[in-house]
């Protein structure tokens, strides 16, 4: 007996998913747990595996469509089954195809404005005022008219053409505009965008997730920022020593900063807290979210128990997570439930920056570039290395003095890395 297969909810927070790629084809024999398709969710590109056994009789959703969970995407059954009734059912369930098409239409306004066929409008009045065109006929209009219509935002379906083949020519559009012909919307004040409109791109699921989460963070979390300038000479020396004793692996400054930040949280746990619905959650683990830039956004895989791991272990783990993040192969749980974030833009030469907190975490450390700087040592001015770090704090759980004390601990670890052994 054939059945409709709906789009599964592939992560706890998935509100919609984009069908990135069908792996199975119509007519394929499907076993339970066979890969049907790849779906782009707010977290990652997820595998959509079959819960059913049978033949993939019909694909209902096209690649590229963005759909809500449970939207019918396929029909699986036995070979040769009559599925006409099921296709109808899927359609009425607002399934793949019809819904997304209407969405794409509203998105691609510029296309429909010049070439659209006369459409029946909800108000019968508007309908009767439209010039009569045999249905299916495209609108003929001179290039000048099309350009002017784009600029003035006029729907050419409303304009009667007097040229050959009913071509809409300049005087037709002039008459229409003089007669108070309705523009599709109020003029936008003639911004420069009208001359060269921006290229419109649909946001990926990741982009949407970034937009939603960071807007929520900036709007609801009372941020404040504390910056210290760290003498990084010790850090440089320590890294050099470590790498001199490593054969194949190398540790980076960022690995050392992760370790130091985690150690400082262990030593001073008041900065390791979250505000959750009127309660304060004091974390018992130190799980560091590491911001990783990927193709069209960023993700934050988590290094668990970073305070208990060695720098090399952290280094290898970060590298492995970052590689999979770039391939969009991270599992959602690998990006959830961090307690503190680190974001490093130092490699781009950024001296310091104030980052947006990754909720529900209570704080985030933004790491600037390692730079040559004059340093006073034993009363002498010497050439040294410095690095600025900025702590973004959620004031609901981390007050100014708390943040400052955390930074004192962090500064000691960064300036004298051997104290992390104590």
């Amino acid at each position: 007996m054939a059945k409709i297969v709906g789009l599964p909810k592939l992560s706890p927070t998935m509100e919609e998913g984009t069908l990135a790629k069908w792996v199975a084809k119509e007519g394929d024999t499907i076993d339970v747990d066979d890969l049907l398709a790849e779906v782009e969710t707010d977290k990652a590109t997820m595998e959509f595996r079959s819960f059913d056994k049978g033949v993939l009789l019909k694909i209902l959703a096209e690649e590229g469509e963005t759909l809500e969970p449970d939207t019918p995407v396929a029909i699986i059954g036995e070979k040769g089954e009559d599925i006409a009734a099921l296709i109808e059912e899927a359609k009425s369930a607002g399934g793949g195809g019809s819904e997304s098409k209407s969405e794409s239409k509203s998105d691609s306004k510029s296309e429909s404005e010049s070439e659209s066929e006369p459409k029946s409008e909800p108000e019968p009045k508007a309908e009767t005022q439209k010039p009569k065109r045999p249905s299916g006929d495209r609108i003929f209009a001179s290039p000048l008219v099309r350009k002017t219509a784009r600029e003035e935002d006029v729907d050419l379906a409303d304009v009667k053409g007097s040229g050959p083949h009913g071509r809409i020519i300049k005087r037709d559009l002039d008459a229409y505009l003089e007669g108070g012909g309705a523009k599709r919307q109020a003029p936008s004040g003639g911004s420069g965008w009208e001359r060269k409109p921006p290229v419109v791109e649909k946001a990926s699921q990741m982009r949407k997730a970034i937009a939603r989460r960071l807007t929520e963070s900036k709007q609801t979390v009372p941020h404040f920022y504390l910056t210290i300038d760290v003498d990084a000479s010790g850090l440089v020396a320590t890294r050099k020593e470590m790498n001199a004793n490593l054969v194949d692996e190398k540790v980076s400054f960022n690995d050392l900063v992760i370790k130091a930040a985690a150690m400082a949280l262990r030593r001073f746990p008041r900065a390791n807290a979250s505000w959750v619905d009127g309660e304060i959650h004091w974390h018992q683990v130190v799980d560091i979210s590491v911001a990783v830039a990927v193709q069209d956004g960023l993700v934050t895989p988590v290094v668990r128990d970073a305070d208990r791991k060695g720098v090399l272990a952290i280094s290898m783990e970060v590298r492995e997570l970052a590689a999979r993040a770039r391939d969009k192969k991270l599992k959602p749980e690998e990006m959830q439930n961090g307690t503190f974030s680190i974001s490093n833009l130092g490699m781009y030469g950024v001296q310091e920056f104030a980052a947006v907190i990754n909720p529900p975490e209570g704080a985030l450390l933004a790491v600037g570039a390692l730079r040559d700087a004059p340093t006073v040592r034993d009363g002498q001015l010497v050439a040294g290395k410095k690095m600025k770090v900025t702590l973004s704090c959620d004031h609901r759980v981390v007050d100014g003095a708390v943040g400052a004390q955390y930074l004192q601990h962090l500064q000691r670890f960064l300036e004298t890395p051997s104290t992390m052994l104590l």
Binding site: S142, P143, L144, V145, R146, K147, S162, G163, I169, K170, R171
Partner: protein, 328 residues
């Protein structure tokens, strides 16, 4: 400003350049003792002598080739074709030598030569003597093609042509030689650069691109159309290679409509080239397809009534303007 005839303007240009530069000489059939088949070179033989105003036998391939050789070795010849129809027997010299020597010699030789003479129909000289040769010569890279309609343009452009370091095809008109027009005084030297067109008449409703003889038919059509409320802008590109496409596009962007008028046959040629460039550069400003008015696609008939039917007429130009203006 004084008014002189087209032929006098051409003669003044030749005389002034010959006076200014002794390397310049004139060569062709009947240019000397007969004072020019169309009296363009009248008086030049007595002023400059037989070394610089040279009568040739009826041998276009020969004297075109002699001219090219002279240009390569330091002189600045003006080669007159009695009419451009006769240039066909010299075509190989022009396309294979004049246009190619600079490139093929790796820049060793310049060919500063002017080929000039009357182009187009000339009232009942029949099919073999009525060619508009501009499509043939504008197709060739390596040469300039100049086609002035007015005495002033003829003088200013011919002076530029004679000073040009590359071969120039200079297309006059038998029916243009008697046209009178304003030309600056003798002591006011005017050089008109190649690649710069001229607005012959301003208007807001339709651009007419016209060059050579039909420029005057276009002007007449514009007068008639103005009486009906259609204001045409006449743009004369003056040189076909290089072409002042900026000026043409600027005009079409203003008027939104365009008719291209030319005497040559309708298939291809500078008329088609101009349409091609305008539609590409001004597509979004066009309210109608660009139309062309040229000679009909037949060898020129001898009978006067048929010749007038074949050439671009005021009526056909007016009709084309009305069509692109969606006017009755």
């Amino acid at each position: 400003m004084r008014e002189i005839r087209y032929r006098e303007a051409v003669r003044e240009a030749i005389r002034e350049e010959m006076e200014a530069d002794e390397r310049v000489f004139l060569m062709g059939e009947e240019v000397g003792h007969y004072q020019g088949a169309y009296k363009v070179s009248e008086g030049l033989l007595s002023q400059f002598g037989e070394k610089r105003v040279i009568d040739t036998p009826i041998a276009e391939a020969g004297f075109a080739g002699i001219g090219i050789g002279a240009a390569m070795t330091g002189l600045r010849p003006i080669i007159e074709f009695m009419t451009w129809n006769f240039s066909f027997v010299a075509f190989d010299q022009i396309i294979s030598n004049a246009a190619k020597i600079r490139q093929m010699s790796g820049g060793t030789f310049d060919v500063p030569i002017v080929f000039r003479g009357p182009n187009g129909a000339a009232k009942q000289v029949a099919s073999q003597h009525s060619h508009s040769v501009d499509p043939f010569y504008t197709n060739i890279p390596g040469i300039f093609v100049v086609m002035p309609a007015t005495p002033r343009d003829a003088k200013g452009l011919l002076k530029t042509a004679i000073r040009c370091q590359d071969p120039v095809i200079f297309l006059e008109g038998e029916t243009l030689y008697n046209v009178k027009g304003e030309v600056p005084e003798l002591d006011e030297e005017e050089l008109i650069p190649f690649g710069k067109g001229r607005i012959g008449r301003e208007g807001k409703d339709c651009t007419i691109v016209a060059f050579g003889r039909p420029y005057y038919e276009a002007m007449q059509a514009a007068e008639k159309l103005a009486a009906d409320g259609i204001e045409c802008e006449i743009v004369d590109p003056r040189t076909l290679r290089p072409l002042d496409i900026e000026l043409l596009v600027e005009s079409v962007k203003k008027t939104h409509r365009c008719v291209v008028v030319h005497e040559h046959w309708p298939y291809g040629g500078p008329g088609a080239e101009i349409v091609d460039q305008i539609q590409r550069e001004a597509f979004d400003w066009l309210d109608a397809p660009i139309h062309r008015v040229g000679s009909l696609d037949v060898p020129m008939p001898y009978a006067s009534n048929l010749e007038n039917f074949v050439l671009p007429t005021v009526e056909r130009i007016s009709d084309a303007v009305r069509r692109v203006s969606y006017a009755k």
